[in-house]
Subunit: 142 residues, 2 copies
DNA sequence: TAAAATTATATTGCATACAACATAAATTTA
DNA sequence: TAAATTTATGTTGTATGCAATATAATTTTA
């Protein structure tokens, strides 16, 4: 190996974060054909997951659970409200809070989404063991 | 465990892609304080890595190496050209191609960036072994 | 309790991201 | 070689994503 070929930490191929960045985008992209028929984007999909589970949450809680900013969520929740999936109203207890609640339409969408996890699992094809290991490593990063 | 608590594939906590999506965003966010002083975003930083290594590449090659679309790269490259980091010119051989070349200013930025990989490594703190395993798993996904 | 600090959302501005489409140049084909 | 196809890049439209800032309501503090 020539001297100049020594490990260069500024080479793209020597990065650890870049493959993570690419893989995340790739996975979101692979959701698209599955989510398009439901009229959902990936971000809206994970928001719906929270709504299906909790039925009703504040914007702040949603931000926390989805690791997203209000600058991202507020406009998106307005779109989802316009689409009839959720409702937004100020809390009576605390007028600062906005409570997001799932609608009948939103609940109904769950049935259509039920196939998605299995189809994605097939698409990503990690063994259970690998998936567990990956989660462990991703947690170490955070 | 109650019957209703059975594994629900539509629960956010049972997702494998969501932690990946969150970790990728988290890592990019952690680059920010290191890249701000250089006037680079993360995406511009990985583009500069390619430029530091190759000096001169077509837009198409850059798209391929960075796994990005022309819709993302073209406007960004224009900004980087405006910042004096690169130059863009049509190829003489093939007028369809645009060649992106690094400038002196772009080369000079490399010195300022040299500390970043080590500082990020400290920030992310994965052992070499874990990093190798993570790369392997991310490659399995793709 | 009135002022200061905190909290919860919303807004603004900037930077991606990518699908879909457009366009010009080069290549292939009939 | 003229037409059809392919290739390389650019443009448009939509959807994030987040920092910084703004605002209104609540809580804390002097």
């Amino acid at each position: 190996m020539a001297v100049n070929d020594c490990f260069d930490p500024l080479k793209l191929e020597n990065q650890i974060c870049f493959p993570l960045y690419v893989a995340a985008k790739e996975v979101v992209k692979r959701y698209r054909p599955l989510l398009d028929p439901l009229g959902l984007t990936y971000t809206q999909y994970i928001a719906m997951m929270v709504m299906w589970e909790h039925k009703s949450v504040t914007v702040g809680k949603l931000c926390e659970l989805l690791c997203l900013d209000t600058g991202t969520l507020t406009p998106m929740l307005k779109k989802m409200e316009a689409a009839g999936l959720v409702e937004r109203r100020r809390s009576k207890d605390d007028e600062r809070s906005v409570i997001v609640s799932i609608t009948e339409t939103g609940e109904a969408l769950r049935a259509k989404a039920s196939e998605i996890p299995a189809r994605m699992a097939q698409c990503v094809s990690l063994s259970t063991e690998d998936a567990v290991k990956l989660l462990e490593l991703l947690n170490k990063i955070r």
